[in-house]
Amino acid sequence: MTATTWRRDRLGYLPYLVPGLALFTGVIGVPFAMNVAVSLTEWDGVGTPAWAALANYRELAGDGEFWSSFRNNVLVIVAMAIVPTGIGLVLAALLTDLVDRHFGPRPASVLRACLYLPQVLPVVIAGVVWSWLLDPDDGAVNAVLGAVGLDALAHDWLGDPATALWTVMVVMVWVQIGFPLVVFMSGLQRVDPSLYEAAEIDGASWARRFRHVTVPQIRPEIFVVLLWTTIAALKVFGPIYVLTKGGPGGATNVPSYYSYQNFFDKTDVGYGAAISTVLTLIIVALTVVFLRAQNAAEPEPS
């Protein structure tokens, strides 16, 4: 195929983007522009916004609460993106390559359903249930620790600034695991089973099959899941809202919750808009870096 016909051929795909771009403009593009405009004003949500130029951003740069919320967010990324992707990958491989083939598809899909269920639970409810389990007085976690003779470890998990963030992280791992698992398992269904058969007949151990068959075959999904869960971690709001409200003493505050506080609790809408604009820019920069890395890692199909 010559270069010109190939270019014309690519142009032929443009109409498929029209509905997506039109809807995007109305639902996301225009509101985002409005949000940026609001971030340049002082506004309490009603009445006329007062022009403030970059005052909100100057305030933000010197706001220690904002920067410490970012440090917390790094640990939330570990709990929501890195750990679940790793565990999800191993679980997906075990379920597909081991359970499915040795015990049949039914146990594999039942286990997948069980591990995915936390994703189905509305976050409002998950928060209530975990508060019961982690209750310092009669919660199940402390009760179990007592029953196995580890009373000394019983603790006010969410109430102590030293453990609150770690506890939230454990809950987030519980919430998140199902997502990578299901994406990876659906990706592995594309893989020709004879690849595994051949590797096994060649005497490849499970670990080798994992490294040389499973991971390379679902590389696109691994990139997608990592980026997606990282974005979700940067935007995390619901779990913080229901578990700790950013406390105790800001120990679990994150930028997204901090912006919510300014939008709705302090009705400092301009400042809230500035926080969410900065957060958006950070996420977009991260997305672009990530997509470039993904592009570089993917061989151009010939």
């Binding site: 949000n35 389990l133 051949a198």
Partner: protein
Amino acid sequence: MTERSAGTIAARAGGVPALGRRGGGKRRRGPSAYATLVALVALAAVMLIPFAVVLLNAVKTPEDYSANGPLAPPERVSFEAITGFWERVGFGQVLLNSALISGSVAVLAVLLSVLNAYALGIGRIKGRMWVLAVLLLANTLPQESLVYPLYYLSKQVGLYDTRLSVIIVFTVIQSAFGTYLLSSVLGAFPRPLLEAARIDGAGRWRVLWQVVVPVIRPTLAVLAVFFFVWTWNEFLIPLVFLVGNDNQTVSVALGVLQGQRLMDATMSSAASLLGLLPTVVFFLIFQRTLSRGLTAGAVK
């Protein structure tokens, strides 16, 4: 029997007897396979503990709860809390609204994702990475920052307090993930399949529906499940947009009652149980679609 297990059997038929090591039937299961299975079952059980707690408290009486705490088994099974919650919020209507909104979003967002990803992944149009980065904004924007502008815009076009407004907003937000996942998957789509279809005289539209979509159907099913569940559990935007009682969704009804502290713990549990049952049922139904129609043999 699924296509995949058929494929596996074909592979066994080709490889195993020739080596003469194993007979027919199930594969060899070593002790390590059993150990792994036991470990996975144990993990699954731990993951399910919070659900057991919800179930436990949903069928308790408030007196039982305050006497014995949230973790004791119920003295007797009572459905008072469940029926009480159902009647208080008119749960039938609320359920219908959620099903309508989440169902529409699941279908429309998958459709939109396929169209976008076809142009980006298969078409590989110029500047696709930037288009993708922009489209991803739909999900990367913190929703708090969208609420004020969307509220204002929906009033302008007369869609405020309609289910349609929420359907449109979430179709766009959810399709960002679908566009990204499918673009990545389609970027690695085998070119020979496409070229064979083009040589047979199929246009882009027919190639999309007759070649591309059938191959990625398992992934589309997964996307539909995700979109349904995610939309079902959305709280902030439906809370702001659906102020009328007739339009409320399950999550909003739940969250509002929770916020007003009008519910005791047993009713909260009952509400939770009713709120999560439909998505669980939906997922379990789709589980079966997920393992059907697989095309492992077609893509190498």
